[in-house]
């Protein structure tokens, strides 16, 4: 199993009446709700938490890209990843991912991911989302019906740039480059493993299978509601006669751990409500720009999780029973996680252990309990696939560590200043 401690980096200071007074947490969120001085603290807290997860033995630490979004403070996840690459040692850095259609030219993604892979010594797991309609179309202006074509072209350019050693000309419709010659290149060969976050587009299933990429379903509605979508994916895997390694799939789940089920409710319910009621308050008009989703996908009825105004779950019991969250004592969480892993057949789990406006101390508490009392019991769920490393980072065995600055660094002594001879 691969457990990634994932942080969306939500803004934790949305007002109590956010839902009533504001139409959307995304795209046209009132920018006056952001306080840069508080933001300084929030960013540093979130970096601390990601770094903390590395010390507890999580396989990965995960981040993603959103724009103009009250629950995501990472328009540039690569900046966060760069900071993490220096202060973490072992965890894979899972950037899930860069919306590659939005980078102009997209060679920028090949460069930055190569830099991250270099700095981290091959710890990068690269995500290539098409990007939500909110980000891609409404915030970044990509024409909805051309989004996928632009994405596919960007993907081709990045993979060629990573894998070809001779300079080449790239005559794309959206990007034309006469001299593609990537410098630097990735540590991992032929390139870092790639995960594709998807929301039920059938085209994305095939794209993952064509290229041996892992399909990640990053929903916030939990494992019970994910059943039919993941079944669709595994059916497609079967139809294509691909092996059914659970590492072909990833799933995001909100999790809270405490000593007892009661303590979990007492400690965490306000933060769960904050997330589900305020952070997911997206104006439905921004959910799916017409043309963004393919006709084929629309016909399957897998409409976006934001596109219908559904009343948010109101009670802790709703959240737990509906499977939105997995919460409780280590034993309760272990049982539910086991059920999730088996029923969805997923090897990559993205754990949302920081939720909404959760303060650092509670998050550390829940995280530590998960790492020590839950994770070890879930390690060997798929022993027959234990050797499948196709979908995970392969770091260098010997990696550089940040130098202890006050003690001095480097292997050679510094030059001794010479007195300037008097004339």
């Amino acid at each position: 199993m691969r457990f990634t401690w994932f942080n969306l980096m939500p803004w934790p200071h949305l007002p109590d009446d956010f839902r009533e007074k504001h139409r959307s947490v995304w795209v046209d969120i009132d920018s006056r709700l952001y306080d840069p001085v508080k933001g300084h603290e929030v960013y540093n807290n979130y970096l601390d938490l990601l770094e903390y997860a590395d010390t507890l033995g999580f396989d990965g630490i995960g981040i993603n890209e959103h724009h103009q979004n009250g629950y995501g403070l990472m328009p540039s996840p690569n900046l966060i990843a760069a900071a993490l690459a220096r202060r973490t040692e072992n965890a894979a850095i899972v950037v899930l991912g860069n919306s590659i259609a939005l980078y102009n030219p997209p060679i920028r993604v090949a460069e930055e991911f190569a830099m991250l892979d270099g700095i981290s010594g091959g710890r990068l797991v690269a995500g290539f989302p098409v990007g939500t309609s909110m980000d891609t179309n409404f915030c970044y202006g990509t024409i909805p019906a051309l989004t996928r074509e632009k994405y596919n072209e960007a993907h081709e350019l990045i993979i060629r740039a990573w894998t070809e050693d001779e300079p080449f000309a790239f005559n794309g419709r959206y990007t034309k480059l006469r001299h593609v010659n990537l410098w630097p290149k990735t540590v991992q060969k032929p390139h870092p493993p790639i995960h594709i976050p998807g929301g039920g587009s059938v085209e994305t299933y095939d794209f993952c299978l064509d290229h041996t990429y892992s399909y990640s379903y990053l929903s916030f509605s939990g494992y019970k509601r994910a059943q039919s979508l993941m079944e669709g994916y595994w059916n497609r895997v079967g139809e294509r006669n691909a092996d059914n390694s659970p590492y072909r799939a990833g799933f995001a789940q909100t999790v809270f751990v405490a000593e007892t089920d009661e303590e979990a409710e007492r400690l965490y319910s306000e933060h769960a409500f904050y997330f589900y009621n305020r952070c997911l308050h997206v104006f439905p008009g921004f959910a799916d720009a017409p043309g963004y989703r393919t006709i084929k996908t629309l016909q399957t009825g897998n409409v976006n999780q934001y596109s219908r105004t559904v009343a948010p779950p109101l009670t802790w019991k709703d959240l737990v029973d509906g499977g939105y969250i997995i919460a409780g004592s280590p034993e309760t969480v272990r049982q539910r996680m086991e059920h999730l892993i088996k029923s969805l057949h997923v090897g990559n789990i993205f754990l949302l252990l920081h939720v909404g406006n959760m303060p650092v101390n509670k998050c550390m508490y829940s995280t530590k309990l998960f790492a020590e009392k839950v994770m070890p019991h879930l390690r060997d769920m798929f022993p027959e696939h234990a050797d499948d490393n196709r979908f995970w980072a392969s770091p260098l065995p010997k990696r550089a560590k940040p130098a202890p600055l006050p003690a001095g660094f480097g292997t050679e002594p510094l030059p001794v200043p010479q007195a300037v001879p008097a004339k």
Partner: protein
């Protein structure tokens, strides 16, 4: 009586509505599409021979993925007129259709000599930013598109029930086909450089605008008037952006100024 013509084009098969007798008027519809029983079209066909090509993705016209931008759709529509043997018709367009018609007149100034732009898209005035029609909810359209929101409601949303999956999926598919295509010219800002080409228009031009157009308000009408030499502006009272539906007679009368 409006007939349907199936026309093969370089990009795929499209459907064309045609009816009536008299001088040729070509009508290019807006992003809300056009059906054979459209009351404006039916009235127009009582006076002219009307030809209304359905843009790719609209009605039964193929989606034509190879149409990606303004140049593609402009040349496509010129090709459609040629294939239909229409020489120098009165070329009229509403909203997005006006934008395409204006481009055609700018790109082929010697082939378009009579132009009618009705509540046309194509320019952008920073002080009067057009609403983002791609993020509107169905119920938000009528008050923006019509002078009389109640009438608009009846026309636009009477049969919409998004809580019924049997309705929702075909609705989303159609919306994706039509607005997906419209987005290639209108998203995220309905301006594709017409201002740099509009000076090439030689056609005698009539501009028709509803006096309460809340998509492209009056300054847009004046911007077109200023940019096209000799253009005449007809303001229609008590009409919004959907002026052909709301007040068909004055629109047809304005077209009549060209013959």
């Amino acid at each position: 009586m409006i007939d349907l013509i199936k026309l093969p084009t370089h990009h795929g098969e499209i459907h064309v509505l045609q009816g009536g007798t008299g001088k040729d008027v070509v009508f290019l519809h807006g992003a809300s599409g056009l059906e054979a029983d459209n009351p404006f079209l039916v009235k127009l066909a009582q006076k002219y021979r009307v030809t209304a090509p359905l843009l790719p993705g609209f009605g039964e016209s193929a989606e034509c993925a190879s149409i990606r931008d303004m140049q593609d759709v402009t040349l496509h529509t010129l090709d459609v007129l040629e294939a239909l043997g229409l020489k120098k018709p009165i070329l009229a367009g509403h909203s997005m259709g006006g934008m395409i018609a204006a481009e055609m007149a700018a790109v082929a100034p010697n082939e378009v000599d009579k132009l009618v732009l009705i509540a046309s898209a194509g320019l952008w005035i920073e002080a009067y930013p057009a609403p983002d029609i791609f993020s509107l909810l169905p119920k938000e359209f009528p008050p923006l598109m019509f002078h009389d929101a109640e009438f608009g409601q009846k026309v636009m949303t009477a049969d919409i029930n998004i809580n019924d999956p049997a309705f929702l999926i075909p609705f989303l598919v159609n919306n994706s086909r039509t607005m997906g295509m419209a987005g290639k010219f209108l998203f995220p800002i309905p301006e594709r450089g017409l201002k740099d080409r509009i000076h090439r228009i030689k056609a005698r031009t009539i501009l028709v605008w509803g006096d309460s157009d809340r998509i492209y308000p009056a300054p847009y009408a004046h911007a077109f008037k200023d940019a096209i030499p000799g253009a005449e502006l007809v303001i229609v009272a008590e009409a919004g952006h959907m002026v052909p539906i709301e007040k068909p007679n004055p629109v047809i009368a304005a077209i009549g100024r060209l013959g």
